[in-house]
Symmetry: D3
Subunit: 291 residues, 6 copies
Amino acid sequence: MSTAREHPDQTAQLLIEALPYIRQFADSVVVVKYGGNALAGGDEASALASFAQDIVLLQAVGIKPVVVHGGGPQIAEMLKKIGKTSEFHDGLRITDAETLEMAQMVLVGKVNSGIVAALNVHGPIAVGLSGVDANLITAAFRDEKLGFVGDVTNVDPTIVNRLVAQGIVPVIATIGSDIAGQTLNINADTVAGEIAAAVHAEKLVFLTDVPGIRRVADDPSTVMAQATVEELEALVSSGAANGGMVPKVEACCTAVRGGVRRAHILDGTTPHALLVELFTDSGVGTMVVPS
Amino acid sequence: MSTAREHPDQTAQLLIEALPYIRQFADSVVVVKYGGNALAGGDEASALASFAQDIVLLQAVGIKPVVVHGGGPQIAEMLKKIGKTSEFHDGLRITDAETLEMAQMVLVGKVNSGIVAALNVHGPIAVGLSGVDANLITAAFRDEKLGFVGDVTNVDPTIVNRLVAQGIVPVIATIGSDIAGQTLNINADTVAGEIAAAVHAEKLVFLTDVPGIRRVADDPSTVMAQATVEELEALVSSGAANGGMVPKVEACCTAVRGGVRRAHILDGTTPHALLVELFTDSGVGTMVVPS
Amino acid sequence: MSTAREHPDQTAQLLIEALPYIRQFADSVVVVKYGGNALAGGDEASALASFAQDIVLLQAVGIKPVVVHGGGPQIAEMLKKIGKTSEFHDGLRITDAETLEMAQMVLVGKVNSGIVAALNVHGPIAVGLSGVDANLITAAFRDEKLGFVGDVTNVDPTIVNRLVAQGIVPVIATIGSDIAGQTLNINADTVAGEIAAAVHAEKLVFLTDVPGIRRVADDPSTVMAQATVEELEALVSSGAANGGMVPKVEACCTAVRGGVRRAHILDGTTPHALLVELFTDSGVGTMVVPS
Amino acid sequence: MSTAREHPDQTAQLLIEALPYIRQFADSVVVVKYGGNALAGGDEASALASFAQDIVLLQAVGIKPVVVHGGGPQIAEMLKKIGKTSEFHDGLRITDAETLEMAQMVLVGKVNSGIVAALNVHGPIAVGLSGVDANLITAAFRDEKLGFVGDVTNVDPTIVNRLVAQGIVPVIATIGSDIAGQTLNINADTVAGEIAAAVHAEKLVFLTDVPGIRRVADDPSTVMAQATVEELEALVSSGAANGGMVPKVEACCTAVRGGVRRAHILDGTTPHALLVELFTDSGVGTMVVPS
Amino acid sequence: MSTAREHPDQTAQLLIEALPYIRQFADSVVVVKYGGNALAGGDEASALASFAQDIVLLQAVGIKPVVVHGGGPQIAEMLKKIGKTSEFHDGLRITDAETLEMAQMVLVGKVNSGIVAALNVHGPIAVGLSGVDANLITAAFRDEKLGFVGDVTNVDPTIVNRLVAQGIVPVIATIGSDIAGQTLNINADTVAGEIAAAVHAEKLVFLTDVPGIRRVADDPSTVMAQATVEELEALVSSGAANGGMVPKVEACCTAVRGGVRRAHILDGTTPHALLVELFTDSGVGTMVVPS
Amino acid sequence: MSTAREHPDQTAQLLIEALPYIRQFADSVVVVKYGGNALAGGDEASALASFAQDIVLLQAVGIKPVVVHGGGPQIAEMLKKIGKTSEFHDGLRITDAETLEMAQMVLVGKVNSGIVAALNVHGPIAVGLSGVDANLITAAFRDEKLGFVGDVTNVDPTIVNRLVAQGIVPVIATIGSDIAGQTLNINADTVAGEIAAAVHAEKLVFLTDVPGIRRVADDPSTVMAQATVEELEALVSSGAANGGMVPKVEACCTAVRGGVRRAHILDGTTPHALLVELFTDSGVGTMVVPS
């Protein structure tokens, strides 16, 4: 691939081709869900640095990014380190107090800090948040038998909006707390959808490790370029979507039904997939639109 | 002790007696260093809830509190849990990568979140920060042989000032990062002094587990009610102060030399010592003043 | 009674017990009607100083007080001094030009200035207003045979709102003027109710010399702790309320019907009754609520 | 004299001729001292209405007027009404408590309210202040033997500046208070000079009942069109100025030395003398300039 | 005619008579259409200077003027200079590319600059705009056979509102552009009406060379002092209005239907007709009112 | 050359490479002098559209561009069209009244409007100004024998700063006016330098038709990549620079001495030279730096 150093005129040309998109998304909020898997790959530091560049570029051209992240693989690794084995209730993993503590420490004290630090190499750009901060995410126990697992009952986006208004990129770890101050673990995809709706985002982008939503779960050739909320809801209720894709698909629907114009599920392992989606004609992954 | 419920007229009377102090400190920033020991006591949750009440009261009467915290005992407990033993260099403990990771997770993901959650039971009042957020604390390796231990090289108080201006209580975990984004462990007392100076605090208050600074380290009867910066600096250089008290004393001096009007070292295990110091005639602990 | 000086820990405890109330009323406007009788007692200066402390404390903890006052006893004293005797029309006292002039001078030039001066001993906190200022209260002649007595036709709260927004306590003398600039005497209780509604106050508090509203006018044992607007309106129309209590009761109803959440009639001769009502569980006097 | 109704083209022409002055004084603060004598004339109401028109016009064309007033004749009349006779100390009148009370009531409750009401016929334009409001004028006893007579020790113009910034005309009665809240009577001319300097006025205008400052006190033909601060100070120290003119002359000097560009002493009994001075080439009275 | 210099008291009197109008129109936007004919008279520079004085006076007394101008005679003169003769389509003049270029250069580069320069002799008051600036006027080809003649399709008053809010007088040349950036010539009267409606003007004033709208086109004695929108629309549809008066009448109707309170058609060749209309009881020309 | 459509990944890569420059120049003012020659080429519309894209891109990525333009070739063409021949004084061309009028019409009414229209195809981005607007450029006659030619005596950048602060691109035609409102023709390069200094620009960029400043005027191989102010001043005083390059070089020196960090002389006929200079490592043309 040629570089700017070799062909400065090409840089200029490509910037000009990106101009309509830059203008279109100026001042728009774009919520990016960055998966723990994206971080857990072979060259984690390099992937994170590349992701940070993308986010900083978005901000530099006037877009207002908000990052939401998970950290499943990192939590699993930590639990393994302390020799923790999970118990189950009706086949579902129970989040006991120690598991919650580990999850919270890994999400907030490791993954979140790591993303913030990678962004802030470029300047004082990012601030880490968890759902506990300024009561961003209030949650309630889903089922006491499952332990400290919560469902979102309220999103108060004030702190996110204020940081965004100051040119700061909020990076959000998906820990919530109930009204008594008890922290709870929550599904990160779900939170991303709720936050995108609450902050009136223009776009919600899931950076995953798959190329999009498949019409037939087992058939990689059935990735959809575009889907309506109705199509996706049918896909979920028919059972055609499965596994980890379900909360992502549901979150896209939550967001789009909540006023977000477009939701996207992209393969975040492709370098700069976020930029390609935003600044070129080449749609990648699946775009979710209102009906 | 009588209560407000029994003697409402007394509540009124005592409020009136607190009035001059409330007016004096209105709109002032007060940095409170909350020690990990204070949290690690027998009834940790209750102590934390009591501390949270004090901070919320400060904010309710127009003071602008900023909380800085450590977490030594909690880090030690975690290291023990994973069976980590420390190595030493010239008698000093080495913070290797795993130790740093644990320290960061405990400080940011456990202690910090815990304090924030305790405060936010009262409303969306607090936001947790670490030194990584918006490059609040830039640090540099102290000595590579000691591993990931840093000294503060710069404090950028912008994010703290903005949150304070919005009526938010920043709660700061004392992790910093160097300019390459590498996080480093830093002494929490030192950070408290630097931040107090950087935000032009009116007061810096250390909540410790001792009743103040002793003129003679081993003699509890020599606690000073008041001391000048010069007296304390002499105490440190003469070796009369020792152990964990040294960084606290030095931080008081840093803060007062940096423009903070008063620094205090109090026994935080006394209930509501912070309020007694601020709102009554009864000075408690040691007050550090400019010469 | 023990004092803060003796029991600083008690001060702290009582402050903590007041915290929920302080937080609840933060940024709320509380209109306080301060009666001329309260000022005319045996130790006028001391009562006024105590009242001033209460108002300054309210302001110090973030409440926005607005004071409305009368001055009946002081006007009577002045009229006596100049040997003025009143004429009557159908049994009602006639406010002739000289009486109006005396009333205005006493209310604006004596009582109002006295309250403002007592408050401003604590700092540049209060500004005196009469209804003439910035056309705060426009009135119309009630009945030309009664002379210069007016009924409120309009309240323009702009100047009150602006001063309140600047942290100033407006102290309002209840003189109004008609559209030709003719000043008129108006009932202070009525004005208090109208202003409380116009500034969207959270509370209206009447500091009187009785312990509350009686269900049976002559029976002190029938003071009501709480009453709805409907109950009070029935009380007035049945004639059960009488004398000076009627305009107070009507003003409470006006205010509550106009959106004020709670109106109170307290015995202002009890020290710090205002603080006891606001900051403790002990309701004193009668609280008026919507139906 | 022809009127606008008869010669509308002349109105237009004269407006055009006033244009340079209107532009020159736009956004400037002009302090106008309005004497009690001006109010005490044969047709008081008419004179006041005419004065009010002038002030409203100033405000309408973008000037920021501040009115300071006295009330000597009105106070004398009131004292007479209550049969008060003054005592003297070394030939100087003693202001005892009752005299102070009467002075305060007349100045604040009668003269001030009267001016404010006359202005507010034109809209919610004016707010009355005394020196007690927001601690505008702090004073100290001049000589306890003279009773409640004060000298200005501090002017805090914050409340005046705020009202002016909101398009309000402050009307100031010259009662001050000492730091204990004791009100004191102060010379109105002196206050006008101090306030003009404190608010950085462009002009200070005294509306008196004489045509200007005479070089020779007894010789009406020696009225000066212009005088420097030095000339006037020499006039006062030589004793050539006398009587009530001395505080006016001294106040002009205070103001001009304090940064006010021009001070004027005009005959306020000439209709619209203020407008003629401000908006035509015809200087009237004496203009005081820096040396 | 007497002047201010001769009769300063008269200036004052007339200013007082103008006061109610000055207050009434304070902060109101007044759109003034200044015709090219007004500029093309015998003493063009003098007429322009006089017009500039009027506009500056309006601004000085707090009115917010917006000037819209044409330039027909000046364009004709320029076309003559380059020897351009027009072609016609169905009897209508065709604006070919060269004619458009000349029109644009004369309107924007000569007439507009001339008005701006005349205003700015009084200070940095005016900024010239054409419809191209910040897309103030978007237009579309009326009929391609007529060449570069456009009809207004959109007015974006943002730039006008911003300049007005900053105390600047926008001076608008009536060139528009279509969405491809092609400039088009537009009728200036029409633009004036559209802009008056878009900026929510209080008044729209046409300065023409006739004394008003005639009920009978050929009969000068039938000039109407006042007319409703309905009356004027009937006049136009009946053909009773004709020639250059039609777009003016239609623009008045557009403006008044669009919320402008009053539209006026005056004889701008009378000196200061604008001031006479605004600041005296003497209505001149025809005033258009809603039905 | 490959395009974004073909190689979206390359677009992303090149955006990332431009990121440091985008961040570096964010919020900086960049003054771009756009020469008349650049407009007068073979494909004028296309060159202008390309220039407009560059400016819009600058603005889209957070830079604040200000455009200053000349129009020599276009003025010459217009003078030719009306058959105007110039007279001379001591060998210098005389700008008589008609020449000035044509210059003003062409610059303001044609070139300026053309640039504004080309920019505003992208949205309401640009507003045209001449030096007459809000007294941006005050000038004085250079030599009356040369006619209406002026030298800059004052730049009041207020209107430019305000538009820039609102996200508007000012496009400035270099006509000034003297204090009597007489317009004058001024050298556009000189104006560009003065304005760059007055608005505290980060950069001044001359888009010319040559590749930079030559050390030896006749030797194209001596183009300098970088030069200090001192080197250039020596070049001018030694006569080594000549012709139209002199005012450009002098303007660069004026700007840099006035605080502009970098001035550049580029070949504007190279497509997107502006973007290449700003967003790649490849410096083009000559960069002028402080000594």
